[in-house]
């Protein structure tokens, strides 16, 4: 079966310009060769530290940022360079939910205007009454009241705003939603509500999620599979359970031990990571992780490991493990 979405060797390099002539003096390797398959109806988690290129990957998939190279396939069709009407049509299938519920809603539009905009853009509802009815429908789907549509975003709490953002994404009946850290700006109690809402919606509409986050426990909970990114590359992909029980990559190894356990009596093996994430302007040669790796060898410095199958559904990019 062809996956719903395939990303092949996606790269995004941001040029840094300098000098009088504005020539390119360096480039930030934000995304450096990401390949990923997402099957219909599944939730793929994408985790990694700040600045590792998770969000850029998500935005490249939606073409909110133009990828520098690589391919994006949707339902067996190369959509990397779609323009105009074809791209607009594709935007109905791929949507995004943003991290910051305060910045992602236009402060000058009413909730009804925000949620209904997509209906106008794509001509999904013919009359004002039809738009209104659909907006009410969408608001109820995400657990808001119909009369909320006359209010402005600033009148709502973070969790409610995030629901509005979700309603906006649902308006076009998308197939895949990129959730760009949708709960990391919310209180823990609200996080659970929004996560549950996302799961309910997935079941109801058969949605596929690319769930970007840096909170491992949230990702573990919601994802079928998890991809771990480090400095612009995916270092390991596995089913959620496998990744936590049997991490292969030395980076993934260290990650769960950094999650605090709310019980002081529990002792566990901590694998501390030393040093900092290297600068993506000048990433290390070979394996990007070798500067912080406990088991690195000479060839890790020269040769970049490719992502290869280690077990059924478990892929890892390491010369030494798997």
């Amino acid at each position: 079966m062809t996956p719903l979405l395939s990303v092949r060797n996606l790269k995004k390099h941001f040029p840094i310009k300098g000098g009088i002539l504005g020539r390119e003096v360096a480039r930030v390797h934000a995304v450096d060769g990401v390949s990923l398959d997402i099957a219909e109806g599944e939730t793929v988690g994408l985790v990694g530290e700040s600045g590792c290129g998770k969000s850029t990957t998500g935005r490249c998939i939606l073409r909110l940022i133009e990828p520098s190279s690589g391919e994006i396939w949707y339902r067996g069709q190369d959509v990397t360079h779609l323009e105009g009407e074809a791209q607009r049509a594709l935007r109905r299938d791929l949507q995004i939910i943003f991290q910051d519920p305060f910045a992602s809603l236009n402060p000058r539009h009413t909730v009804g205007g925000i949620v209904g905009e997509a209906l106008i853009i794509h001509g999904l509802a013919k009359s004002r009454a039809a738009i209104e009815a659909r907006v009410v429908d969408l608001l109820e789907t995400v657990g808001m009241r119909p009369d909320h549509m006359r209010r402005f975003p600033h009148e709502f709490s973070g969790g409610q705003r995030q629901r509005i953002g979700i309603a906006r994404a649902l308006a076009v009946e998308p197939k895949l939603i990129v959730c760009d850290e949708p709960v990391s700006a919310l209180d823990v109690s609200i996080q659970a509500q929004v996560i549950n809402l996302l799961e309910d919606l997935q079941e109801k509409f058969g949605l596929t999620y690319l769930f970007i986050a840096h909170d491992l426990s949230v990702v573990e909970h919601i994802s079928d599979r998890v991809a771990v990114m480090y400095l612009g590359r995916i270092v390991e992909i596995a089913r959620s359970r496998d990744l936590y029980d049997n991490p292969l990559h030395p980076y993934t190894d260290a990650l769960p031990s950094a999650v605090p356990i709310p019980d002081p009596k529990v002792k566990r093996r901590r694998i501390p990571l030393t040093g900092h994430v290297p600068n993506p302007i000048n990433p290390p040669t070979g394996c990007h992780f070798h500067t912080r790796c406990r088991i690195a060898e000479a060839r890790c410095k020269t040769e970049a490991p490719v992502l290869r199958q280690s077990a059924e559904g478990h892929m890892v990019a390491c010369h030494l493990r798997g």
Binding site: N106, A118, I121, H122, E132, V136, D147, R168
Partner: protein, 301 residues
């Protein structure tokens, strides 16, 4: 599904909401009142105050305010009230029209620069800097020298001069607006709600008109109100140099200028046009403040 809308929704309209916020802004309300009063009096004044603006009466030279001449008379015995009523039409019209020209050009240039990356942006900002660095007075001289007569024959003496002055003043004041708009666009363009609209498939035009521009207008409105004041004053400079309206057309700036040699004997002569300019500028500023807040739904007030 629509049966659920049965809950009595409060009547809502963005215009009424904005007006409600505007009304809460007491200074803006006062400003609007004064402005309307000024506009009404320059429009209807000549019907009520029937003294001619150029009725020379040497018997009544430099008379302080009396019942017959509430604002006094000037050195030729002309009634200052009548002159200010007549001149107010031109001054206010020049001020508002120049502001509109400056703001429209500024928004067009700034928005184009802000939305396009690279060469277009660079070129437009060079143009803006170029205009900013031009010495304005010599340029004004040149423009009016070149176009004054042809405009006069084209539209008529008063209309021609009016169009020329508005274009010249507006055409030399759009740069700050352009920079302001561009800066706003650069930051707003990257905001997530704009990205969201892009992800929904909104056209560039829709992004600008519905999402970016409305959020960029706050500072522009403030700049625009200041522009009105500047334009009223700039017009008097031009008239003084003999490039604006002919000396016998008593714009506020012109009357103020004529009064300057008699400040010691007839201070009222300068006081009245000065106060009118001050009142107009101040009230427009307050209205601008109120407008900015009224158009921002986040203001609860």
């Amino acid at each position: 599904m629509s049966s659920t809308v049965a809950t009595p929704a409060p009547p809502f309209s963005p215009t009424r909401d904005a007006w409600r916020r505007f009304r809460r802004h007491h200074l803006a309300l006062a400003g609007l009142f004064v402005l309307v009063l000024l506009v009404l009096s320059v429009l209807l004044g000549p019907l009520l105050w029937r003294l001619a603006i150029n009725d020379i009466d040497f018997a009544a030279q430099l008379k302080p305010p009396t019942l017959g001449h509430p604002f006094g008379t000037d050195d030729l015995g002309q009634d200052i009230l009548a002159r200010l009523i007549y001149g107010g039409r031109i001054s206010l019209a020049v001020g508002l029209a120049s502001m509109v020209v400056a703001v429209v050009v500024g928004i067009l240039v700034g928005a184009t620069a802000g939305m396009s990356r690279g060469r277009v942006d660079t070129a437009l900002m060079w143009l803006t800097d170029l205009f900013l660095s031009l010495p304005q007075l010599p340029l004004l001289l040149l423009i009016s020298y070149l176009f004054r007569d042809s405009l006069k024959t084209l539209i008529g003496p008063e209309g021609g001069v009016f169009v020329m002055i508005v274009v010249v003043i507006g055409g030399l004041r759009w740069m700050p607006v352009a920079r302001l708009v561009r800066a706003q666009f650069l930051s707003l363009r990257e905001k997530e709600f704009v990205e969201a609209a892009r992800a929904l498939g909104a056209s560039r035009r829709r992004l600008v008109v519905r999402h970016i521009l409305p959020n960029a207008l706050g500072p522009v409105i403030v700049a625009a109100t200041i522009d009105v004041a500047n334009a009223i004053l700039a017009e008097s400079t031009l008239s003084f140099l003999g490039l604006g309206f002919p000396p016998d057309i008593p714009t506020w700036g012109r009357v103020l200028f004529d009064a300057k040699d008699y400040l010691d004997v007839a201070p009222y002569w300068a006081l009245f046009p000065g106060s009118l300019i001050f009142l107009a500028v101040l009230s427009i500023n307050f209205v601008g403040d109120g407008l900015r807040d009224a158009l921002d739904p986040r203001r609860v007030l």
